[in-house]
Every structure is written in C-alpha cells, then in structure tokens.
Amino acid sequence: MPRSRAEAGFVLFEVLVSTAVLSAGCLVVVAALSTAMKASRTLQDRYRAALAVEDAVWTTDNSGGNFDALQVSTPDGFQNADWSAQQTAAPAGGLSQSSVTLRWTSPNSTRDNHQEEFTLSTYNATNDSASPN
C-alpha cells in the first residue's frame, strides 16, 4: 500500500540540501569565531604596545628628551618591531610636542604582513613659556 506524504519521510535530495544549509551556517559561525579571535589578539597586542610606548615616553621625558631605543623594551612576540621618535620644536612661547611610535608586523592580522602602529604624544612647555615675563 502506498504511504501518504506525511509518512514518506525525507528523500535523499532533501537531506543533502538541509545538511548543506547547516554546513554553511556552521562555516559562517566558525569564520566569525576565527575573526573574533584575531581581533581579540590584535587588541591585546595594542594594549601591550600602549604599555611599552607609555614606558618609552616616560623614559624619554626623564632622559632630557632624548629617545633611546636601547632603553625601551619591545613586548614579546612583536615581529619586525621598529621604534621611532619625533620632536616638534615649538614656536616661541608654545608647547613642544614629542611623539614615540612603535610599529610591528601583526601575525594575527587578516591581511598578510599588516603593520600595526601605536603612537603616543606628549606636550612640554618650552623654557620660553615656562619662564615668567
């Protein structure tokens, strides 16, 4: 006796389509997890970079404004780390700006050889502005 439509179950084609849809959904979830993991690692690297650059700025300020790359420590695992510092002389009576930058290649980036960068600037009163008129 032929079975009704309700009793017939699923045909192979229906099973394949449903599993394909399920697989696609799982792939999307895993890809999102992977992206979240990379973003999380990037943020953590930036936090460590911020700590290192803060240290470098403080050391520079307390070394007579002379940046010395040997005096700063690069966080572990930072590839191709490159320190640079820049001092912008102030016009008379203004503030001078000193900036320290750390660049590194992020192994966690979604793009190959993507360079991350963190810069911190401080402003110091020049002697002209600090002295009373």
Partner: protein
C-alpha cells in the same frame, strides 16, 4: 538509504569538527582575555594606590611608615577613600590615610604563590564605622611579580635613568615604579608578560649613587 546515511555521516562529522575547532578557539580567546583582564586590574589597582602615595610628616609615623620598596614587595603610606555607612548625608566617602602593602607571597612548595594587597588605616583616636584593615588577594593567574624603581644616573652617565629592584631612599617617593607581571593560565598554560611604568607625579627619581645593583 545506505548512501544517504553515509553522506549524512560524512557531513555531520565535518560539522562536528568545525564546531569543535570553533569552540576550542573560543575557549582559548576567553582564557587569554581572562589573563589580560587580570593583569589590567592589578596594574590599575597598583597605579591608583601609587599615584596617591604620600610622605608622612617628620616624626614617629614618618620613621614607622616610610616608602619601602623591594623587588617582590612594596609598602607605602597613601591617601585612600573609605565609604562611611553611618554618614547621614554626602559626602559618604571619607578621605583617610593608610598604609598599603603589596607582597608576592611565595609558598615553600612554590605551588600556592599569590599577590596580596594589605591595607591599614592610620586613625589614632577615632572609632570609625568602617573597617580599618583589609586584605585583597589577586586571582591566582599571576605567576610572578617584580617591582623596580627609577633612579637618575650621575650627570653624563648612561643610561640617564636606571632601574633597581630596591628603593634606597625611604624619605622620598620614587618618580616611577616599574611593575612586571607574568600571568599564566592554569588550563592552557599560556603565559603573558605585562610590564608597566607607573609614573608618580609628585615623586622624585632616586640618586643613582645609592644603587648597588644597577641594571642598564
């Protein structure tokens, strides 16, 4: 039927593997985030206390509670704020002076070491309605902590700022304290080192002539 079962098994296995890998990665992310959050909390707590450090006026208290700095502990008087539960109206927070101590307590076996923060209020003659002593134990993810203190080198000396694991000038507050934390997650074994220089704006750099163990 067999073909359908076979295909379903293959596809379901692939889905299971994908989800397993995803869940494992997610767990790793959470563990690593836990490490960083713990480190951030410890560093912020230390920064808050150190930036409120003060020197007590000359006298008995000054001699009793100087700024003591060692590689694995530091103790100093500081301005703190306590919430007074009996205060009828604002301000509910009372500024008080206390002594804060951070110490890395290494157990004999090395298994149960922990970073502890002890505080004691210096209140000579009142009976406050709030606690006058306390102890905070930081989460066990911390596997070591090292403190070092900033000294100014002699003129022309290199480097200009040197760091030592001991503060030799208890009559003054150091200009900066460098904290190096090593955090290890017990499940994954992942290790992260966080190093922060905490400037103390009203502190002074030490005199490097006092430093015996200068590390450039």
């Amino acid at each position: 039927m067999l073909l359908a079962l076979g295909l379903s098994a293959v596809i379901l296995s692939a889905i299971y593997s994908l989800l397993f890998v995803g869940a494992r990665n997610w767990r790793r992310v959470r563990q690593r985030a836990e490490i960083f959050q713990t480190g951030r909390i410890v560093l912020e707590r230390l920064e808050s206390d150190l930036q409120n450090a003060l020197v007590l006026s000359k006298g008995q208290l000054h001699n009793q509670f100087p700024f003591k700095g060692e590689a694995s502990s530091l103790s100093f008087p500081a301005m703190m704020s306590m919430i007074d539960p009996q205060a009828a109206q604002a301000p509910y927070e009372q500024p008080v002076v206390g002594v804060v101590t951070y110490a890395w307590n290494q157990s004999a076996s090395g298994q149960a070491s922990s970073l502890e923060r002890d505080w004691t209020l210096l209140i000579p003659d009142e009976s406050p309605s709030y606690e006058t002593t306390g102890k905070d134990v930081f989460p066990p993810l911390i596997s070591s902590v090292t403190f070092s203190y900033a000294y100014r080198n002699a003129p022309g000396g290199y480097p200009a700022v040197v760091w030592s694991g001991q503060w030799h000038q208890p009559e003054r507050i150091p200009g900066a304290v460098r904290v190096s934390l090593v955090l290890t997650h017990p499940d994954s074994g992942e290790q992260v080192t966080l190093s922060k220089t905490i400037p103390i704006f009203h502190g002074l750099l030490g005199d490097a002539a006092w430093v015996a163990d200068v590390k450039p």
